[in-house]
Symmetry: C2
Subunit: 331 residues, 2 copies
């Protein structure tokens, strides 16, 4: 294993410490719960939004806490749901009078932990609603999931409800909005290589020099098929076809298009993929209103990418364009 | 070679096309010269800033064209300087009455091409000045360089002169500012793996499972030494010591600290590195006024990172904080 780490056991806390030190004015780090929260929260004029997740998907979720996005994250170990008591204690710390919205990627472990936390927090009188994110069209059930997996589409849910929360939307309104975003968001991914969790030290799976996995999950879960490597354009065609036919997207639709890197894919390749995907989406008759190219939801050092389409209406387009301030900034 | 590309010969133009399609309102792509320029340029009220470079370092330089940064880039092939006639034709397209500033990373091929272009453009009556960027402390001369190499510190030069140009600084003022930034910027990098240029198809160099290269260049040029892999903290200590002792930086200095990924390094590891580097820099007595964590100047799919320190004064700090709008956006 070649990684820029110290002790594998300290990988998550040392990463969280770095995030907090790089954002000392805006973020607070509470090591006890692997918790990153806004330094200015909670705010009783807005619903607090919490995501908890296994680590290894950065910048999701630990690096998108801030104005217009999440109020807090509590991280689990790499690819492991956060313990229910981390979520519960985080919930108490960030609870506002308007309530707390949980954004949960659809994995069995995450759902169980959040449900347990919700019961405990409700017993304390905190009002909670949840949105389950399941945008991955690749497989119906998977290794860690009943139903579809939540992957890069998570970004759009967070951005939309984050913007609406800043404007004072109620808990019920945010729950409905989140579910509406999920209902119009579809993703499929692929991998050129497996990823190596620090504590494991070896790749979760290996592919030969001419193989790729189509429909991969973000924890190395199997996808639809393992096939010979194809050209970038052929791969985009295949992912796009799966995504478009699933909703289905139609000619005339306004959309957001995302090319998301899996962690070790150079940004040059992501833009190359975007260029062809853009042309194909427009050729199909959809109109690209917003585009996203980069790493949003990764799988440690996996090489590969996913393609996400979101069907937009005027409200959703406007929410996605709203300002936000997060831990990762280019400038 | 496992890459998300089509024909290796089309790697650069297809990437540039993607950048342009993702930014169709703000950028213009002229395939003939591998040229990306601001759609609103040139502007006779500001100096136009041009960088040309080999490709493979994205987001530098092709993805940082925009308000407050570059007016244009013309790209060479991967790791190859752009031809002088690309630079010359780009210069003519973007020339403003206030002149054109060249930002040149210190590589023999780049310098020759820019000097030839400058001669031709000056014969046309265009006023030109150049800033040579050479922030890499690792080696004095290298495979492609007489003198020090220009690496991730390039970002700070671009950002500072880009901001000053928007405010109407003259060509002479920008040249002086650029040289001043270079004089206070120091970088050193390391690699866990070599990178694979698309046209070559195999890694430029290989490292065994327990080796790393300290002082690596951004084209796979040898660094200071090849040694056994160490812990993240030990590596930070080594790079930081080389950078600090070179200027030298002193207790009490205000600084900007950058942890720059080499292309395939997960952002989780970059933040982990940042956390420790931040602590060490503050322990040394320097004050971190601005921080940067992410991919700024890469080497295709190389794993590794570089550490940059910039000694700040009030003017430089303010210029680095000025607004900018570039092709790569997170949100």
């Amino acid at each position: 294993m070649k990684k820029l780490i110290n002790d594998p056991k300290q990988f998550v806390p040392e990463m969280l410490k770095g995030i907090a030190l790089a954002n000392s004015k805006t973020l607070k780090y509470i090591p006890k719960y692997n918790l990153i929260m806004r330094a200015d929260g909670p705010n009783d004029n807005k619903v607090s939004i919490l995501q908890g997740s296994g680590s290894g998907h950065e910048p999701a979720h630990a690096m998108v806490v801030g104005y217009g996005m999440l109020d807090a994250v509590c991280q689990g170990d790499v690819f492991a749901a956060p313990p229910a008591d981390y979520i519960y204690n985080t919930t108490k710390l960030i609870a506002s009078k308007k309530g707390v919205l949980y954004l949960i990627n659809n994995y069995t472990g995450d759902r169980m932990a959040f449900e347990m936390s919700q019961e405990m927090a409700e017993a304390d009188g905190i009002e909670i609603r949840s949105v389950i994110i399941n945008d991955d069209v690749a497989v119906k059930d998977s290794l860690y999931t009943t139903g579809r997996r939540g992957v890069a589409g998570n970004f759009f849910v967070t951005k939309a409800v984050g913007a609406a929360a800043e404007r004072g939307a109620t808990l019920e309104e945010l729950e409905a909005l989140g579910n509406r975003v999920v209902s119009v968001t579809r993703t499929m991914g692929m991998a050129l290589s497996g990823c190596t969790p620090p504590a494991k030290g070896t790749p979760i799976f290996t592919l030969t020099d001419d193989e790729m996995e189509i429909g991969i999950g973000i924890h190395g879960e199997p996808g639809r098929k393992r096939v010979k490597l194809k050209s970038a354009n052929q791969i985009v065609d295949e992912l796009l076809d799966a995504v478009v036919s699933d909703l289905p997207f139609k000619a005339g639709d306004d959309v957001a298009l995302m090319i998301n890197g899996m962690g070790a894919t150079p940004i040059s390749e992501l833009y190359l993929l975007y260029g062809y995907a853009h042309e194909q989406v427009e050729k199909f008759g959809m109109k690209i209103k917003r585009n996203y190219v980069g790493n949003y939801c990764t799988s440690l050092d996996m090489e590969g990418f996913s393609l996400t389409l979101v069907k937009l209406d005027a409200e959703l387009e406007e929410l996605l364009a709203a300002p936000a301030e997060i831990a990762i900034r280019t400038f």
